[in-house]
Symmetry: C2
């Protein structure tokens, strides 16, 4: 880890207060925590080691759960013949304006332009049509970790970038029920579980309205989080594709009766955008706050000064903590000011700092600082491992509880569209969907609002769009 | 796993004998082991779950060793302004003919064409120039896992594809010695170690001649393997970049004396091509043979027939084996012929098959089949875990020894260029480099031969090109 020049040259907090200017605060955190910066091509992003370290932990949490569904990872080409995209009418209409097109390769103009995948339904389904022959081949469950490109006119680091990293799952099932069950299983057991138990972000789940549905899907399910400015962020989606792509790409199988039938499909994805959500849900005026499962460094042992006693005690502590399986960093950069280094780790959101200095040591203790509460407590040296275990154990739960109570404080049940328009400006308005409908949705759009998702009054998922659903209305990223 | 149609429909071995037609044999293994197939755009490749599972294991072995060097992962944009490539003259000359160019994005023609990274020196070094300010920032050690595109006119799955997956490391050091030491450390402790201990592929290491050097490097170090047809395959390279890119991208730091100095750099990469090497080194007439550390399934427990006794015994065995931490698959597809399924797992190279059938069971045993030797032995049920442990424990060592003795049998010390030309047609010729030189290299090229690497007579690495080095001469992929 290197210290940025601004931090090294001294001065107060380099971060704009969250309440003063939320978008500016966000940029400051991303920059000063050294998570990412803009690439040379508009909308592209360099993910620096701290940001990428978080992504690796998220990937591994998601990947484990994806594999537990029975899906296997694979990799499909990034370059797709333009004609493939045209095979599903709604799909090409949705993605055309965002495409990057390769017209030149290997020193000559290409006969047919190639698009860089904006998502891989078309190319993957062209292979599924070869691989799926019999009901024995189903369900076919494939996941891909990849980069995709969607031209972005108003980019923001992590949230909307021209190139981003994601996973995209693609499946084929023998029946509509199986496909729907799988789409919902991913939503609940891969996405919601990772977001809530790993990222400590409480999410609302529900289906998208027709207006917000994925281009080519029959039904889109979504996880929506409320950010620290009470705006919504779509964190992950799981689509029922019906037989739309199966028909466009001729994915047919012989069923148990020996008849040819089109497959039923799903697709689902989560991207580096989730890191943006993590920042905006948990960050505070002092920077990022990381739940321990997503912290590249969980505990930093800071030498206050470099003398033999301090070094030896700090190294011993670091070793003891590593032995417990935690990700530990020893910060012995005593040529840099202690305050500067503390601010650095605070901005980066490391959950626990252990300060080891001569005065503490002479009293047989270290100082334990919890980032999320900004609390400090002296801990006797023999009790450090236990104190760290206790502290680490409660971070995620407390962050999640805080985010949840913020969301609840900014969510209101309303009975009219007019009220939804008003309340939606400063939080989520929950309004009966029958009072909104497609026309009401247009009205909301004119006011800068969208329907984030539809679900039962108790938050439950419902497939039936004619059931008494409520719409979660709010501003969004 | 699904069974390919050819296999399901019966018939003999679907694989061309290795000795009859090596390239055809290779294609057959890739295809029938369901590792990869051609994408719709010439030269692109779909990596299917079996191939990708091997890649995931390779990635994790490499990544662990890369992180042990102190390097951190990060991610840089795939789209690079064309002008960046022109900054290092030799680099752009080397890569220009292979570039894919994006000229259209977001619905309009771009003002400046963008290239899809063929490698990331240019874009990464443009950021290093911002990040490196002081000797405190050094060494800067970054690695990236990514896809790259190099237009390929004569593609072959895994070996040469227009798009491939790889890792590329990029570092900056304060001195030439540090940079060289790091390049060699990666060569030996990341690459050679992974190739030899994980992939069981013996490699020769040495430096490339000027002719074969990476475009923009001062010196290229390489790991070269001998394939089953006695041709060479370059499996990984580590480059000393000197100050070439530091000058082109203005990467300067204030040294301990407070003076500005250009950084010294390295870059190094290993790609999905290594999977091609794995196939060509270990494969036999019956398909792939996998060392256990790279086997997505290490042990398959095969139910010969579906009855209650067989199922219960097979499930118990599978559970016992999983408890040891091995990757185990239970094959209960008894509606498919047992022979077909065995051939399937054999082609895929699964190291151990455990056959569980009623006759074996009645005698209290199972049959253990070792793929790499094609040996079968009965094992009493209570001894299965130990027998599997013993069998798994010797596979890699035996595969490596076999490959090494093949290489030795196809390597000859010679004393003249003429002899090198002759011997190089059927193996590696080791000839004193002073007898070859740049002119001899041209002569070799006319005979379809290349100098794979230069090293000491005992195989040791030597920086000094005027030392009495020997050239390893052979045909190559």
């Amino acid at each position: 880890m290197t210290t940025s020049k601004a931090e090294r040259s001294g001065g107060g907090s380099p971060i704009t207060p969250r309440g003063a200017d939320f978008p500016r605060w966000y940029q400051d955190v991303v920059s000063h925590a050294e998570m990412a910066e803009n690439g040379p091509v508009r909308g592209t992003m360099v993910i620096r080691p701290w940001g990428y370290g978080i992504w690796e932990l998220l990937q591994s949490a998601l990947d484990e759960r994806i594999k537990a569904t029975g899906a296997s990872n694979a990799y499909f080409p990034m370059l797709i013949p333009e004609a493939y995209l045209r095979r599903e009418a709604e799909h090409v209409e949705g993605f055309s304006p965002e495409l990057a097109v390769v017209t030149h390769g290997g020193g000559r103009d290409l006969d047919e332009p190639l698009v860089i995948r904006p998502t891989s339904e078309t190319i993957i389904n062209s292979f599924f049509s070869k691989w799926v022959q019999s009901h024995r081949d189903l369900p076919l469950l494939i996941n891909q970790w990849a980069n995709v490109v969607r031209w972005e006119l108003r980019p923001r680091l992590f949230l909307r970038t021209t190139e981003f990293l994601w996973q995209e799952g693609h499946t084929v099932h023998a029946s509509e029920e199986d496909a729907q069950g799988f789409a919902l299983h991913v939503l609940e057991h891969v996405y919601r579980e990772t977001m809530e138990s790993v990222a400590a972000i409480p999410v609302l789940t529900g289906q998208k309205t027709d207006k917000e549905r994925f281009a080519g899907a029959v039904r889109t399910w979504t996880c929506e989080g409320m950010m620290g400015d009470a705006k919504a962020l779509q964190l992950g989606t799981s689509h029922e594709l019906g037989q739309n792509f199966a028909r466009a790409f001729d994915i047919r199988f012989s069923n148990e009766e020996g008849e040819l039938a089109y497959g039923w499909q799903t697709s689902w994805g989560v991207s580096t955008r989730l890191i943006g959500g993590l920042i905006m849900v948990h960050g505070d005026d002092f920077g990022l706050r990381l739940p321990p499962l997503l912290a590249p460094v969980q505990v930093v042992v800071m030498m206050v000064r470099d003398d033999a006693g301090v070094r030896s005690a700090a190294e011993t502590l670091a070793e003891d903590l590593r032995r417990e399986g935690w990700r530990v960093r020893l910060d012995d950069r005593t040529d840099l000011g202690f305050g500067r280094r503390s601010v650095d780790w605070e901005i980066k959101g490391v959950p626990i700092r252990l300060e080891v200095g001569p005065r503490d040591l002479s009293e047989g203790r270290a100082t334990l600082v919890q980032r999320h509460r900004r609390s400090k407590e002296p801990v006797p040296l023999p009790g450090v491992v236990e104190a760290v275990r206790r502290a680490l154990g409660s971070v995620a739960e407390e962050l999640r509880a805080e985010a949840l109570s913020f969301r609840e404080a900014h969510s209101t049940d309303v009975d009219t569209l007019a009220e939804a328009v008003e309340v939606g400006q400063t939080g989520f308005a929950r309004v009966p969907w029958k009072l909104v409908g497609p026309e009401g949705e247009e009205e909301l759009a004119r006011q800068g609002l969208t329907v984030r998702c539809l679900h039962g009054r108790d938050g439950s998922l419902s497939v039936d769009a004619s059931a008494p659903l409520v719409a979660e209305v709010g501003r969004t990223y």
